[in-house]
Amino acid sequence: MEVYIKILCFFRKRVVLSLIFLFSLAYFLLQFNALQLIRINRKYQDDDGEFEEINYKRDSPLIWRSLKEYNLTDSEVCKNSIQGINLIVDERGFLCSRDDLKSTGCCNIQAENTHIYYCETCDDVSKCCEVYEHCVSCCLNPDNVPLLQKAIAQAQNDRQKLLFLNVLDQFDLCLSICRSNSQSVVNEHFYKSPKKHCFTKTEPHD
């Protein structure tokens, strides 16, 4: 009996209570942050006039680059940007010429023209770049994580939110956010600017 009372008293101590509270708060914040607050909750009207509710939310937290260790050795296998005519970015943020791409999918970091977090054609302020691969490489810099988090939190419409909800990690996010999109065009037929690959939040658009 005394044991129970002791345990009860232990839990009534302020220190313990506040510890529990802080732990819960920390956990909550972590989760909150990881989920980036975005979710889509939409009601769509059916043909028969009935409402169908659709919820989109993230299955697992977005993996940011700072959380994942990347050693710079050549042993690993990389995802990369696949599409380029000549330039390729690997998931570590290295930009290289296709000739310097190894069979692992990683850039050869010894090659002369391989750069990390390369922002050559990017605008410092707007974070918009002329070359898609520059945008992705630049975006992968862990320093940009707060900026990207902000961009996600401020996603303007369902189309953007859907995209952000489905990215697995920062590499996925950078690949997707850098693509020219509804915000890159004016009058539907022209690019607003040659710097059409951006990794910040952009203007809303219907």
Binding site: K43, Q83, R98, L163, S182, N187, D206
Partner: protein, 1011 residues
């Protein structure tokens, strides 16, 4: 910001014919007969398979693939035993028997002990010997209401071709034979609302159709039962092998799909990219298209087990924006979609953000399948994105194995005026009266390339699902290669109508299952003696002719990127190859998975007196990074063989030069239609080329014996002494000063004649045609009229000829036999009156002022109240035709002749009402020989015509022609650029080969067998 804008970006290819399911396939009386009295009962089909061993027949399975004769040798050597005499190889008469195979069926009669079998099994190159099985597949209609005792409708032995392919594929795809279950994967048929109402009806029907009840009528009856498109194209053969689309992500970009639609098994995800709050299909287009791909009930789709991703990018009002597409496409890349169907398109191939995005998807290995458009049978009507290098563009055909009338066709117009268009569509398939899912379940028939596109997309999905183990080899080009190499050529259509032919799923999956990454070309070769190669086959080439150009698409199945390192010309020494000069130019980079090469061909002086065929080939080496390790390079060489028809140079009186250089088309600017009566088609977008919307005129001139060449450069770039007539029809471009001077000199001193068919121009009407384009959220004002009359007046000023600013319309007769329609044309307001001048006038309506009376209406112009006006329409006498013999003022010497007519509609197949090829003939007779036909002479009114108080048009202020004109300065609409330099073609060095024709034919034969 410039205002070079498009009209409606994307049209959904709404089907031409909406038919009730029960009355579909009207062409087929048999089917209609049956359906007429068969709608009362619900029926379903039960499919059963039975197999039985065939006595004495054995399948000999070899370890590798051998040709027929080799296989026979193996078998006879294995059976080289005096005891075994009674054996024969069962002949397989099917297209596959030409190819190496790994099995044979033999008839072997022997009593036990089976020594022969043992001997065969022991042969080192024979893998196994198994008894032949006879497979019966039975389709049964079961009346679901009454559950009659099932009545057997069809008993069909699988064709040997199917067997061959099944064997081949199962071996190559390394399917476990146990999974080849004959009935595991046939989709369920339920509530099959069609067919035969009862068993007695069936028999009667059968008899009445066949006439002889004893005849083996199964096939006939099967045809009488409206077949599923999937079985017509033999997708069901793959289903029986367990290939059903499983594991492939296929996306439909369309009008959405209802979640609970009864036909679909696996809707993986539905997303909405429009501004409407709905995921459902409001207009049934999306449902139908999705059904063709993935329906598993009633009207079956090709890949019932594929993961369907529904992207709703069109609203229920068919509104869509480029920006919606961009976001949706980005999401598709992220979701690793394998195949996208785009039953959409529009004429604006200059929508850079959209075109770039489609390429980006291709670069990410997404296979894009798109409808080629419903603007046929006119040429030059290809729609974007189906016309892109990297996209599989699909045309439609009907069940009579001909290209459907609606299917867009003809070359691309991107390359005009200097180049020549690409071959498109890539492939065709059934697109007329195809059955597919209806909005809430049930089926309906639709037609359109919207229908043909998902047939190919579904087939591609199915094919890929059979080759999942070879996913590394699957990319937009390897799939396109498999489709076009497997396609069956149609007999009656040329390559610009049918592309590489009709989709053949079984052949294509076979090609893909043994695919080795490679570079191929489309078209594969040039043969001017082959009608399939129209228009190349329609006119031989000769010395001094403008170069003919072949635009070859390079398909790179090896890597997303690559470049050409070498391109060489190999004329065949003994086959007059030395008579040709060839020049090869190509895209710097092949990306994504594709590129282009353009081959210019002319006859050189060695061929100037010959009538001959000249042969040779172009060889191209492409360097690509290795798919395994990009630092390694792969060099592939591919050849393009050329066979040209050469004739001696025709006399200049037979040679016409077609001015392409001054024809402009939408995009890049708002170039309005030539006939203002036609309202649903506001733009002039078909290229105005002799092989696009002037193809009928071209064919007519060819049959009249003329030779027509195309000038893609300024007038300063041709030698006038080669030509009898320069033909200008509906020109929208301006003219360099140097051109104006050169043309005057050519006419006066080199006896060149000019024929011009002009069109309307009136600034008030143009301003009135302004409208707000919803798609680009901008006001649009035309940059010229139907033709650029102010520019033409500048060109003709030296000859004293001017066109007016009235827009005229009307029906009239010329002579007794020629009904004419003047569809929004101009009139002649100034013309020199000499004693040889002919001027013809007719009574016409002032269409311009009628249009102006009608209030402007926002984005669209309302129909004119034509019926009311017909009775009271005032007509005016206007000069429509003028013929002039030029005479030099200085010495009185005769120059060339000039003939002008005020409207181009009667030569242009676009919305043509009445052709006036006879008039063109008469004018050509005049321009070439100075003979005036009796008919035209009899209508001459030159002495009664008074040109005073006529006005000519001024250019529309603030027009934007300069922003895309080749002649005006881009910064100043009143300034012309310095004259464009003439292109200097660098001819390739000839590497002569000592090849003779017999060898070539042999090589061709071998090559065609290799496929």
């Amino acid at each position: 910001m410039t205002k070079r804008k498009s009209f409606i970006i994307f049209f959904i290819f709404i089907a031409i014919n909406l038919l009730n399911c029960d009355k579909s396939l009207q062409q087929d009386d048999e089917e209609e007969l049956i359906s007429a009295n068969s709608t009362k009962h619900d029926q379903r089909i039960v499919v059963e398979f039975t197999t039985s061993i065939v006595q004495h027949e054995y399948i000999i399975h070899f370890k590798h693939y051998y040709k027929k004769d080799t296989r026979r040798n193996f078998i006879s050597s294995a059976l080289d035993n005096p005891e075994i005499k009674n054996w024969t190889i069962v002949q397989r008469q099917n297209p596959a028997s030409d190819y190496p195979s790994d099995f044979d069926v033999i008839d072997l009669y022997e009593k036990t002990p089976l020594t022969g079998l043992e001997l065969l099994k022991n042969h080192p190159l024979i893998r196994s010997v198994t008894p032949q099985r006879l497979v019966h597949r039975t389709l049964k209609f079961v009346d679901t209401e009454q559950e009659y005792p099932t009545n057997e409708v069809v008993k069909e032995k699988k064709t040997e071709e199917e067997d061959d392919i099944i064997n081949y594929i199962s071996k190559h795809l390394k399917l476990d034979p146990k999974t080849i279950n004959n009935d595991c994967c046939v989709p369920e048929f339920q509530n099959f609302r069609r067919g035969l109402s009862s068993s007695t009806d069936t028999t009667q029907q059968q008899q009445s159709l066949v006439g002889n009840s004893n005849a083996h009528s199964n096939r006939r009856l099967l045809r009488a039962v409206p077949r599923q498109i999937t079985s017509t194209l033999k997708a069901d053969v793959l289903w029986t092998m367990g290939i059903t689309g499983k594991g492939v992500n296929v996306a439909v970009f369309d009008t959405g799909l209802s979640k609970s639609h009864p036909h679909f098994k696996k809707i993986k995800e539905r997303t909405n990219w429009t501004n409407e709050k709905s995921l459902n299909d409001g207009i049934s287009h999306g449902t139908f298209v999705s059904g063709i791909i993935g329906s598993s009930k009633e009207c079956l789709g090709f890949a019932p087990d594929a993961d369907l991703h529904i992207y709703r990018v069109f609203t229920s009002n068919q509104v869509s924006y480029t920006s919606w597409f961009l976001d949706a496409f980005n999401y598709a890349i992220l979701k690793k979609i394998n195949v996208i169907n785009l039953s959409i398109g529009g004429p604006d191939f200059m929508d850079r953000p959209f075109v770039d995005k489609v390429q980006e998807l291709s670069a990410n290995k997404v296979i894009m399948v798109s409808a080629i458009g419903n603007d046929g049978p006119l040429y030059g009507t290809l729609n974007n994105p189906g016309d892109q290098l990297d996209v599989i563009g699909v045309g439609g055909m009907n069940f009579e194995e001909k290209i459907a009338k609606f299917s867009s066709r003809g070359m691309t117009t991107w390359e005009l005026p200097l180049g020549y268009g690409r071959l498109k569509p890539d492939i065709v398939t059934y697109g007329a009266q195809v059955k597919g899912s209806n909005l809430k379940g049930g089926c309906r028939s639709l037609s359109g390339t919207s229908v043909a596109s998902p047939v190919v997309a579904g087939a591609v999905t199915l094919i890929i699902s059979g080759a999942l183990k070879r996913m590394d080899y699957i990319n937009p080009s390897s799939v396109k290669q498999a489709l076009i190499e497997g396609a069956t050529r149609l007999n009656d259509n040329n390559m610009f109508e049918q592309g590489h032919g009709k989709l053949n799923i079984l052949k294509s999956i076979k090609i893909l299952s043994e695919y080795q990454p490679r570079i191929t070309l489309s078209p594969t070769h040039l043969d001017m003696t082959d009608d399939y190669m129209f228009p190349y086959s329609s006119q031989p080439i000769y010395y001094t002719m403008q170069p003919i150009i072949v635009n070859v698409t390079i398909l790179n199945g090896i890597s997303v990127t690559g470049h050409i390192t070498e391109a060489q010309w190999y004329p065949y020494m003994n086959e007059n190859g030395n008579m040709l000069n060839v020049s090869i130019s190509y895209s710097e980079i092949l990306w994504p998975w594709s590129g282009w090469m353009s081959i210019h061909i002319v006859v050189n002086e060695y061929g100037q007196h010959f009538e001959a065929q000249a042969l040779g080939h172009v060889s191209v080496t492409v360097e690509t990074p290795s798919p395994k390790d990009s630092s390694e390079k792969i060099n592939s060489t591919v050849t393009f063989s050329i066979r040209c028809k050469i004739i001696p140079k025709p006399p200049k009186q037979k040679r016409i030069l077609w001015d392409q250089y001054h024809n402009l088309r939408y995009p890049p600017g708002y170039l309005p239609r030539d006939s203002l009566k036609i309202k649903q088609d506001p733009l002039d977008w078909r290229g105005d080329h002799i092989h696009t919307n002037f193809k009928d005129m071209y064919t007519h001139l060819r049959s009249s014996g003329y030779y027509i060449e195309v000038l893609g450069e300024p007038f300063t770039c041709f030698n006038a002494s080669n030509y009898g007539t320069l033909l200008m029809v509906d020109p929208e471009e301006e003219y360099f000063e140097a051109e104006i001077e050169k043309l005057y000199d050519d006419v006066m001193n080199k006896n060149l004649s000019v024929i011009i068919f002009a069109d309307w121009y009136n600034t008030t009407v143009m301003k009135h045609m302004k409208f707000y384009d919803q798609n680009t959220r901008q006001w649009w004002v035309p940059d010229t009229g139907g033709a650029n009359i102010p520019a033409l007046n500048e060109l003709l000023n030296v000859f004293g000829i001017e066109f007016g600013d009235k827009v005229l319309e009307g029906y009239f007769k010329m002579g007794e036999h020629h009904d004419m329609y003047y569809a929004s044309g101009t009139s002649i307001v100034k013309f020199p009156k000499t004693n040889q001048t002919v001027l013809i006038e007719r009574d016409l309506v002032d269409q311009g002022s009628e249009i102006l009376k009608h209030p402007q209406n926002g984005s669209q112009q309302k129909d004119l109240p034509e019926i009311d006006l017909k009775n009271v329409r005032l007509k005016y006498k206007e000069v429509i035709l003028g013929m002039l013999q030029t005479i030099a003022a200085s010495n009185g010497k005769k120059g060339g002749r000039i003939a002008v007519y005020g409207d181009s509609n009667c030569l242009d197949s676009t919305h043509m009402e009445k052709a006036c090829f006879w008039l063109l003939d008469a004018l050509l007779e005049y321009s070439m020989t100075s003979h005036i036909s009796g008919l035209l002479k009899s209508m001459n009114r030159v002495q009664y015509i008074d040109f005073s108080d006529k006005t000519k048009p001024q250019r529309l202020l603030h027009n934007n022609l300069h922003s895309y004109s080749k002649i005006l300065s881009p910064n100043d609409r009143d300034l012309k650029r310095p004259v464009q330099k003439c292109q200097k073609i660098m001819w390739e060095f000839p590497y002569y080969l000592n090849i003779t024709r017999s060898y070539i034919n042999e090589a061709d034969r071998i090559e065609s067998n290799m496929i």
